[in-house]
Symmetry: C2
Subunit: 199 residues, 2 copies
């Protein structure tokens, strides 16, 4: 149903958020207007400032408004291991999992000629220089296991031939807690191909 | 994990929305910054303008930036039936269900002395006058079937004694599609008390 022009516009605008459809947007708009106008205005200010000022880290290309992001600025992060990911949210996932203390390089996408995304859009021209300058001894390819993610990983592997870094790919297989009978065939094939000797 | 100050502030601010926790907020912030800055800025503008300009309908008290809301301004809506609801989202629910062509009166809450919400905060002082002026012949109480909603309905019933309007309460019982064995006891008691002869 239509409410008022401004409320309808707010409901429409809220749907720019992933996973937010008309129903959630309507509930959110009415909630904010009824109970939390200060919150709505603080959100508006945060959106405006972030949209205007957040750029990319000079070193790893992740999203930040500072010249260098917190991870790149942290001297305790191991420069020897460089993990290449498709997007900043992949960094969040890896950091929350814990166990990786190296640095990152963010592609902001994957190779996709059909969408006009080539190596330059992903910063791949500067990657070999970056690897040499930081002295990374291992480059871990953590692009997603999709056709495009695999093609991107393959391209990066080739482009780093001129460096001394060892290039590795994260393992793909049965997720922890997963049960074989519910896993898709592609994953099972990967899990078999990636088998290791038990010691 | 912490990203950058501006992104962290955006993630925090996004959680003003109902049902949005840190995980959804992080995903939303990164999505907007990576893929839809125009959408983020349009959302900011819509939030600011709505938060500043949306007030209440002079007649029914629902949220609108116009003096009178679209339903109150619509001459085809039946002034004889006035449905009293707790919040604007209740109007949305009833309108989407269809089948009601009357008008509304929005309380923006329910009687709750412990929270300092008395009859004046709910506009109940003006309700009898409103009923007389609009010539409503029936006032349908659609407050929620909670203790406070029932108390509010009871209070309104008493306050309208001086008018000619018949006061009714919406039915409470087994929801359509619901199965008796899964319905809570309070609802079953209501359903039995509200039984009607089959004709």
């Amino acid at each position: 149903m239509r409410l008022s022009p401004l409320i309808d516009r707010l409901i429409e605008s809220l749907q720019a958020q992933p996973g937010v459809g008309p129903k959630t947007a309507t509930r959110t708009a009415l909630h904010l207007l009824q109970h939390n106008r200060a919150g709505a205005q603080a959100l508006a200010a945060a959106l405006t400032e972030a949209a205007e000022r957040v750029g990319r880290c000079r070193a790893c290309r992740t999203l930040t408004e500072t010249e260098v992001c917190a991870i790149c600025a942290n001297p305790r992060r191991d420069a020897a291991a460089l993990c290449v990911v498709e997007s900043p949210s992949d960094i969040v996932a890896i950091e929350q999992a814990g166990g990786f203390s190296g640095r990152y390089f963010v592609l902001h996408g994957r190779l996709s000629p059909i969408d006009g995304v080539g190596p330059e859009e992903l910063g791949l021209g500067e990657l070999p220089t970056h690897v040499r300058e930081t002295g990374a001894s291992e480059v871990i390819l953590a692009t997603n296991p999709t056709v495009e993610g695999e093609a991107t990983a393959h391209y990066i592997k080739e482009s780093l031939r001129g460096t001394d870094a060892q290039v590795t790919r994260i393992a793909h297989g049965v997720p922890i807690g997963g049960e074989l009978e519910y896993i898709d065939g592609g994953t099972i094939v990967h899990a078999l191909q990636g088998r290791r000797s038990v010691d």
